[in-house]
Symmetry: C2
Subunit: 126 residues, 2 copies
């Protein structure tokens, strides 16, 4: 049984989320012990929302859940890599496939490189 | 100019490091403002070592530097993705190509899936 080191991150470990087919990095989120256990138990990604301060079943609102295909722990067991099937084709709450849709040049200037997959106002709006 | 949000992580943002050719995720490290600036200025990955409490020019000891090919910021500008050329073919201080060399099954059991690229005792030993 992998015992993750939650201490270094004050109770949280970062989870890198990668599309299991394309290898594209979709997002980084955080897990506490409960999120880690739920992810293992259910096969769907669960995180700890730092902004809301609560357990976060990714996709519970949008329907865009992440079906976990493979899990890896790093050398120090203080970071996790999930290879997932991203339901709906978009991991980002702004409607992009990947949260990493801003390219940065060597001067630090930023360019959005993607088109939105969905309109967040329609998915999250009421 | 991208202004990263260092506040949420107490002065640090996580940096996901991906091999620019294979797409394999090699490691997760952390950057403070100084590490971010040095990375942009030099084109070689710099991090903040949480364990040593100092600026860390990756590869300064081992020679296995990371040449930055592309940089991405995420939606909230609180995480970074680097696509790098990993000199020496191994990012992990234990001698593996990737720090994520431990596969985890649904019971939480762990298996090392890689062979070492180098012997850490020879690279770091004295």
């Amino acid at each position: 049984m992998v015992t993750l080191d939650f201490k270094k991150g004050n109770g949280l470990v970062p989870a890198v989320v990668q599309d299991y087919r394309s290898g594209r990095v979709l997002m980084v989120a955080y897990m506490n012990g409960q999120a880690w256990e739920r992810t293992l138990q259910t096969g769907e990604a669960h995180y700890w929302s730092r902004s809301r301060g609560e357990l976060w079943h990714k996709g519970a609102t949008s329907g865009n859940i992440q079906i976990v295909k493979e899990i890896f722990a790093d050398c120090d067991s203080d970071a996790i890599l999930l290879k997932v099937e991203q339901v709906g084709g978009a991991a980002c709450h702004l409607g992009y496939e990947s949260c990493f849709h801003k390219s940065v040049d060597s001067n630090g200037a930023m360019t959005i490189i993607d088109e939105r997959v969905f309109d967040p106002a329609k998915v999250y709006g009421k």
